[in-house]
């Protein structure tokens, strides 16, 4: 298993790009900043399944984003959170 690049609690930015293939990053989190909630395992890269087996596998992180930062008109508690799985190659440090 390769070492994880990011660690729990680290601030990360989700890339804002749209490759012309299946890529499993919904548009509402693209470009957003959150914190790593936990480090998960290695899995096939969605963009590479269009031809082949998704290898080399990439690490997944769960990223936590405050709801009030996602939606300007969010109706709820300012401690409400959205948590989402993002592959490592979609993340960069935001610290």
């Amino acid at each position: 298993m390769s070492e994880s690049v990011f660690h729990p609690g680290q601030r990360v930015r989700i890339a804002d790009r749209t490759p012309p293939v299946h890529h499993r990053v919904p548009s509402y989190v693209k470009g957003r900043v959150g914190t790593v909630e936990r480090v998960c395992g290695l899995h096939g890269e969605p963009e590479k399944f269009i031809r082949g087996d998704g290898k080399p596998f990439r690490r997944i992180y769960r990223v936590r984003i405050p709801q009030v930062e996602l939606w300007t008109d969010y109706a709820g508690n300012d401690k409400d959170k959205l948590e989402i799985e993002i592959f490592e190659h979609w993340l960069e440090s935001a610290e």
Partner: protein, 208 residues
């Protein structure tokens, strides 16, 4: 070219209606080609369908009841869901199984905004509303309003965590044990656990 007889009606499940959309016909044609090319057999496909039909929310209820009665098991379940459900004879590979615990000040709810990912092999087929665009689009944006429609009125003192199941993790909520059920057996407790409480669109479970 194969000289096999292409009698479609004989190979797909007889209780399925004849396809009426182009997408359904493409799906059936793809299935025929995959089987013909030897990627898998019709028998293997039937077995997968049978296994999924055997899965149900009762499996999740057993896991919840064990967690309520065995604090050490609960700790293992929250730390490593896949390992903990394997102890009870369940398997969700290749997905990672992630259990989110409801507490007095936190409520968890699960969605897949991109499609409709759901731990089918454990909990069976997902409810129709879970796959609806309405639920998928709105529960990430206005979770409290959507939960209220399900009858869950959350006070401001309870934080909402929405989990968008977009990749290789599968989720289940661990609901709170209802008051007044202390000392109940696992079997008695499991009966109280509902499918919606495992998704997070129900919060309070009632004894009896």
């Amino acid at each position: 070219m194969s000289e096999q007889d292409h009698d479609h009606g004989r190979t797909f499940q007889p209780d399925h209606a004849e396809p009426t959309s182009d997408a359904a016909r493409v799906g059936l044609a793809l299935r025929e080609l995959l089987i013909e090319a030897g990627h898998y057999t019709a028998e293997e496909e039937q077995q997968v369908i049978a296994d999924m039909q055997g899965a149900s929310p009762e499996n999740g209820a057993k896991i919840v009841a064990r967690a309520w009665t065995d604090p050490a098991y609960k700790a293992r379940l929250l730390a490593n869901g896949a390992g903990a459900i394997r102890e009870l004879g369940f398997e969700l590979e290749p997905y990672e199984f992630t259990v989110m615990e409801n507490t007095g000040d936190t409520h968890n709810v699960i969605v897949c905004t991109l499609c409709s990912c759901y731990p089918r092999a454990l909990l069976g087929m997902s409810p129709a509303w879970y796959k609806s665009k309405n639920y998928r689009a709105r529960v990430v944006r206005e979770p409290r309003a959507v939960l209220a429609e399900f009858g869950v009125a959350l006070p401001d003192t309870v934080d909402v965590r929405v989990h968008d199941s977009t990749a290789e993790l599968r989720y289940m909520v661990l609901p709170e044990q209802p008051e007044g059920t202390e000392g109940w057996s696992e079997e008695q407790l499991a009966v109280l656990v509902t499918r919606d409480s495992l998704i997070g669109t129900q919060r309070d479970l009632r004894p009896g």
